[in-house]
Symmetry: C2
Subunit: 337 residues, 2 copies
């Protein structure tokens, strides 16, 4: 195992296509990104998925005796199964044997395992799940957080999301002065529910971030914002709606485009262009969501992830490690104290 490279612990048993697709994505990441991968799970199951001539340099199999099923209550399952793959993966980070965790398993369980095994960063009350959305401006994504960790939020939680999101945008996504918005129902300062009206004021006064005002639903994909904060209820609804909308549109195109003879010829001619459109809208290209505010880098992939999504999630994890996002967030809070 290369001691200088980034080491990623991968929950090989998590997700609808585990362990086959998870292992395949991990091996590709090792190959193309030069990371070391620690595959956590049932050694026999994992070994069966390794191609016969796999070069075992930079691949380590770490035994876990169980896994968390998608229908288990996360907190109790995490406590009841200390040797579940997601717990073992988190422990590897805790023991400094890995720099980050990637999991496509139960996202609530990943959150619970991270909290119990790694704990929170100093100054952070509630970790958040951030998701990167493509916008109408190519190459200019927006980071939305929280998309599901905290359904009932106090104003200061949202303020912390803004600070963490801003640090991630700056140090990992490379935006020099990230424009932060508050998801809300109107542009005016006074608009919103009880929580957002108060948060708006707090963000206005926060000198650590560049707050440019409220973002309405229509502004999410405009490319005008680099970071948008919201509670985990509305963020989760929006994330799942956005994911589904892509498929809905692709299905409508599939139904309507090839109708008639002109339609059939036209659609055939457009095949490469349609493929590019699918890629631009496909969330698999974006890898996963990130857990911000826990004392370790964790990327949570979609349960339906196949090898390309896992590869992209590992790339995200590597970029977060390379850019020291944890240290940067912590610095924000030390400077505040």
């Amino acid at each position: 195992m290369g001691s200088t490279g980034v080491r990623i612990a991968i929950d090989a048993m998590g997700g609808d296509h585990a362990p086959g697709e998870i292992v395949a994505g991990a091996l590709r990441a090792r190959e193309e990104l030069g990371v070391s991968v620690l595959l956590v799970g049932d050694p026999q199951e994992i070994e069966r998925r390794l191609p016969p001539k796999t070069n075992l340099e930079q691949v380590e199999i770490v035994t876990a005796s169980s896994a968390i099923a998608m229908d288990e209550e996360p907190l109790s399952a995490i406590r009841r199964k200390p040797k579940a793959s997601i717990n073992v993966a988190m422990d590897l980070v805790k023991q400094n044997r890995a720099d980050a965790v990637v999991s496509a398993g139960h996202s609530g369980a990943a959150m619970a395992a991270a909290l119990l095994r790694l704990g929170r960063l100093p100054g952070i009350d509630r970790p958040a799940i951030g998701a990167v959305f493509p916008t109408i401006k190519a190459g200019k994504p927006v980071l939305i957080l929280d998309v599901g960790a905290n359904v009932d939020c106090r104003p200061k939680f949202l303020e912390q999301f803004a600070v963490m999101g801003s640090a991630y945008s700056k140090y990992v996504l490379g935006i020099s002065e990230p424009k932060v918005g508050l998801l809300n129902i109107g542009e005016e300062d006074c608009k919103g529910n009880d929580v957002t009206v108060r948060v708006h004021q707090m963000l206005r006064e926060n000198t650590q971030i560049s707050f440019i005002g409220n973002a309405e639903g229509r502004d999410v994909l405009s490319g005008e914002f680099d970071v948008i904060v919201c509670d985990g209820f509305v963020g989760n609804v929006l994330l799942k709606f956005a994911e589904a909308v892509g498929s809905v549109i692709l299905q409508i195109l599939k139904e309507e485009l090839p109708q008639g003879l002109h339609g059939q010829i036209g659609t055939a001619l457009l095949k490469p262009n349609l493929k590019r459109i699918k890629q631009r809208m496909d969330h698999a290209e974006h890898g996963g969501a990130l857990l911000l505010g826990v004392a370790g880098i964790c990327i949570i992939s979609h349960g339906s992830s196949q090898a390309p999504s896992i590869f992209n999630a590992i790339r995200m994890a590597k970029e977060a490690v390379d850019n020291q996002v944890q240290e940067q967030i912590q610095r924000q809070y030390q400077s505040q104290l």
Copy 2:
């Protein structure tokens, strides 16, 4: 004015394209739907927009001396300007000179005017704004409410939204047993924030509706639900996001489809099919949102509405009148008492 036909009061001064497009949409509705229209606003401004040979049968101009601007605080503006067009339009319903109101003006002001001039239906604590979304199943739309009237909701408000939405779906949209869902972040009964966990239980026990469980963001456009209830904060974010997504996708298609020579030919061949896709996704086809729970039928159109949207909004208003949606909602509450 035909005394047997449906009479619609139209806020001719409300919206970005008032009064020209509003008047044009109203005249078309009178022509094609056989409704009487009462155009409320500045008589000179309205008359200038009437084509020279307009048949003034079934068209009445009702004078209003002012209008509410989009940046005014709704409640105080409604109180300060009793002769504003939206107030005068509501008064026409109150005086039984009209059966419904259509406005593309300030939606908060329309809500405030309806509440102050018409009042609430008995048994309803908070009126809600409902919006009809197209789904992946052609011809099977879903009614979402509330999309903006109530940003902080108590559980019983959401229960009332479910009953009102169900009545609208049944008596206006013609669904014999509307499937009601609660917008939430997971399918399981226990998922959600403080409010939705309680509402879930209340909807389960409500015998007036057919509650089929939680609807996640990804289920909104699935066609599996006829009515989805949520608070006005998340509903408004979702509505505006959904509207914007349509435009974003159309823009991506416009950019990507015609690339290369094959792309140009293919796109030219597909012109009629692309037009049909645009129509299927275009919210102008859906007319407007409806105010449920006030003692009168009110349709709120988008501020950017042009004549086709206004026409569709008037059609929605006529269908609500024809199907006695108010009486049906009231009956639900009388049966409950």
